[in-house]
Symmetry: C2
Subunit: 553 residues, 2 copies
């Protein structure tokens, strides 16, 4: 059965993709897109960069116009038209023309909901004062720009240190503003594991005026000077000429809920893998729906543009009578800030622990993004999580200046295909000295993990270091050791180890540390073959510093 | 059975990896590395960049010293010691100390051959004149540097336009030399398909003094001024202060052949997937061996550092008594030159045709490396080859300025896992506007290919365009059309197509063209649903230009 008359609510990523794909699949169907805002198919991921004047021309953000949709796709797009109700029985939607206030009805054979998600705006004292912004649509970014320019703003508070918060902080700093970031969690980029977020914190802290972690918003006041005062739960207060709320988004499910469509446990619209809601004539796509996480199997809210686009295509295919299915989401994401990139895919250690899992291992690497002998090599910090004992890749996080997204993309692709760490070990990737290494960081991550699974090395858990009764051995050179070392560590450089075995205990476990984990691995191999009980501290002193600074707060 | 006494011939990529891995696997085995040259474990991929003074310090090229091998790995390395013969019966090698001329023997339980490959130096007239160089070892690059500096050289001929040839051309140009490239094939980077090499030619041509394609070396003469004259088979001659021969490498199989080890059809040492030669006590790894190509199934010579390293590990594991296997090589490679990157993985169209295959399809894309609305987007030209009808990925080539190696790495990873174009379509990759697009170039490549396999679009073969009786339709805007179009093409902009169906023939096939293939796809969908017989010209006018300029020569 194909549908002759399709109405799509929302015309940005998922809705616009669905409309265009549907037209390609079916030249005869009627397609009407109803978009509440003034624009269709705009680049919402570009909004922070328009605020920052990196993107200078607002028209660049408009990827398509209603006119283009009409001419190219024979699709009718009505911006400024909000769907206010769904009459499922009559298969009609109630629409309000935002400009004129006129209310009218449109009938559908198939309805696609792509309403997106709205920035959270908590009911705090003073929340409605002028100068407090969220960022969702083009006019929001225009308002922020105008506010900054007209008031000659020079101090901003960004509430929320997630992906959008960091992008906003970078862009405001790029415009010359002094930025304070307030984040409720004890870390920036809360999706990352805390020790990986340490590299983010370090970079951000040196590029903003103030970083307030582990503290929530309490409210806003008008300062006597005319600006704002932003108050936090800890009692701190920050003067600001403007404040940006980027403390998360909430799926726009009002319309669906009022229509009696089933919602999921996370509050999103429930859909099957054909993007169909509990009503067989209604589909839903994008930030408003819950989708299956391919790693955890759980249903999650994952407000990302890539999945939204693919979901729109699936809904279109199904409406056009095809057997398309959405594969689910593994949570690949990237964020750039102050010359640094953080990216992740799949599960994190904290998400696995939250799910009660302990059938996994984590390894850390700190490896140059290309051959160290070629000028300009920058470290990438990688954490790879994999299942024991089969090595199925569960997730990866990486932070660095160059080549970060490339390595996460490779691991994400391997994961999508059910890959193991042995596949990463063997991966044949592009290599020339300015692009990578004969053993690419991805290969190295796979090798380290494979070593664990083959029983060639065992890792000591960093979290137990403080309480361990193990003998802590540091195999770096004395000069490195003197610059900083683990508590109670004994230094025997790797090159002397074979000659100094007598100095090591046979009745205690030996935990071995070095700079980034490689020499400790060599030492583990030497000592274990000499009958010592040894464990490696994954990622070495580099990981220790990240771990220590983030967990001892 | 493990071996107590292992001799490794050659101490660079494969040999050095094998030695270090073997020590980690077996603390008790004796390991002796015999290296003919003066250095062990040096960065041969970095040599062109040392010539170019991008890498300024020769010591950066030395990744390890014999002293480090001794201290860290308890491995004896003898540089300047050449193995001249293998006595398989006695399990001994004959060694010549290059410095003293002393000849001695060493016995082995296991022998690993990692002799590498030597640059081809054809027996042409004048080939031994001073100023004609090949590049294999650190002293070669040092000699070239010294020659350039001491003679104040300003004109160089690079013979060979492959990977090393282009790297040398770039580096010599970087030093301010006028470079002429002479390449026997009609294209640069002969592993690429010719139309993809067009982008390379264009970039290189505008950065060197002269590009001589389709012409071979004939010989060298001493010029009266003291420099060289390089003569080609076509009768051209090029004055030069130095000439670099980078016309390929030949596996160093002398030792193996004289020892009666089996060689393969391509002239490399034959090994099984455990890297074992026809003698059960002898292994071979690296550029001298033939390895299985995982796409073609053929045995090939693939002189690349990554596979050499992995082969060294496999040989070490097997010698240490483990069940390791080498998976084969898919031919992932990358080359950077004059701000551009070319990369490939798997099969090319010409390698498939050479193998007599026609069960595949090729699609072209020309897509910005990140969101077009974010400043600085650069096109990536992609060619994706896949099997019909199941969509198994057979290979990919990409050329561009940014993000090229990342996309080839993702496709290489999917290929390694047996991925199809449907997997690329669904791939969940890193996206933020400065890193990619909600539909990443890899997704788009998968979508275009999937459209073919689902029967939604059919591609016309570019090679048949010149002779086709089809109606050629161009759906670009008139302004674009006027700047250049296909022979006999009729222009109807996409936006007018639905209203102008009457102008199109129903009795002939219609081949549709646009800028990069997207609008032509939309037009195909419109017209095929209206009963027209249509084909898309993949990659549009961009592909046409590349195709035309490279195949009409």
């Amino acid at each position: 059965m194909t549908h002759r008359n399709v109405v799509i609510v929302g015309g940005v990523a998922g809705g616009a993709s669905c409309a265009a794909r549907l037209r390609r699949m079916d030249e005869g169907v009627g397609i009407l897109v109803l978009e509440r805002g003034p624009f269709v198919s705009f680049a919402n991921c570009g909004l922070p960069y328009y605020v920052g004047d990196v993107i200078r021309d607002e028209s660049k953000l408009l990827l398509a116009t209603p006119e283009l949709f009409r001419r190219r796709f024979n699709i009718e797009v009505r911006t400024g038209n909000e769907v206010t109700a769904i009459d499922r029985k009559a298969r009609e939607v109630e629409v309000r023309d935002v400009g004129t206030g006129r209310v009218y009805r449109e009938s559908y054979d198939a309805l696609v909901l792509a309403p997106g998600a709205a920035p959270v705006r908590p009911p705090l004292p003073g929340i409605d004062l002028p100068g407090i912004f969220t960022l969702r649509e083009v006019p929001d970014s225009r308002s922020i720009r105008e506010w900054i320019e007209s008031r000659n703003a020079h101090r901003a508070v960004v509430a929320g240190g997630g992906f959008i918060g960091l992008e906003m902080a970078e862009n405001l700093a790029h415009r010359g503003l002094e930025v304070t970031i307030i984040e409720m969690a004890d870390q920036l980029l809360p999706p990352l594991d805390v020790e990986m977020a340490g590299y983010v914190r370090e970079r951000v802290a040196s590029n903003v005026a103030h970083l307030q972690l582990g503290d929530g918003l309490a409210g806003f006041e008008q300062a006597s000077s005319g600006g704002l005062v932003v108050r936090t739960q800890s009692g701190a207060s920050f003067p600001a000429d403007l404040a940006i709320l980027s403390i998360g988004v909430r799926p726009e499910t009002d319309l669906a809920r009022r229509a009696g469509l089933e919602l999921g446990e996370r509050g999103g619209i429930r859909v099957d893998d054909r993007m169909r809601t509990s009503d067989p004539h209604i589909w839903a796509v994008g930030d408003a729906v819950e989708v299956a996480n391919t790693v955890s199997g759980e249903r999650e809210l994952i407000p990302l543009a890539g999945p939204a686009n693919r979901q729109g295509r699936v809904a279109a295919d199904v409406i056009a009578g095809r057997d398309a299915r959405f594969r689910g989401v593994q949570g690949t994401a990237v964020c750039g800030f102050f010359g640094m990139t953080a990216a992740l895919t799949g599960a994190t250690e904290k998400s696995l622990r939250r799910a009660g899992r302990d059938d996994f291992e984590a390894v850390y690497l700190h490896t140059p993004h290309h051959a160290g002998y070629y000028p300009g090599a920058k470290p990438i910090h990688i954490k790879l999580l994999f299942r024991k004992p089969d090595g199925l890749i569960l997730g990866a996080q990486a932070v660095g200046e160059e080549g970060v997204e490339r390595r996460i993309d490779v691991i994400a692709t391997a994961m999508q295909m059910g890959g193991t760490v042995f596949d990463l070990e063997q991966a044949e990737l592009c290599y020339a000295p300015q692009y990578g290494a004969a053993k690419d960081p991805v290969n190295l991550a796979g090798m380290v993990a494979s070593n664990v699974l083959r029983g060639d090395v065992e890792f000591a858990p960093w979290c137990d270091l403080a309480d361990t009764s193990a003998f802590v051995l540091d195999v770096r050179e004395p000069g490195e050791f003197q610059c900083g070392c683990l508590h109670n560590a004994v230094n025997i450089p790797l090159g002397q180890l074979r000659d100094r075995l007598a100095e090591l205990p046979r009745d205690r476990e030996i935990w071995i540390n070095c700079g980034v984990g490689q020499r400790a691995y060599y030492a583990c191999r030497i000592l274990s073959q000499h009958g010592f009980r040894v464990k490696n501290l994954s990622g070495g002193y580099q990981t220790y510093c990240a771990w220590e600074s983030e967990t001892s707060k």
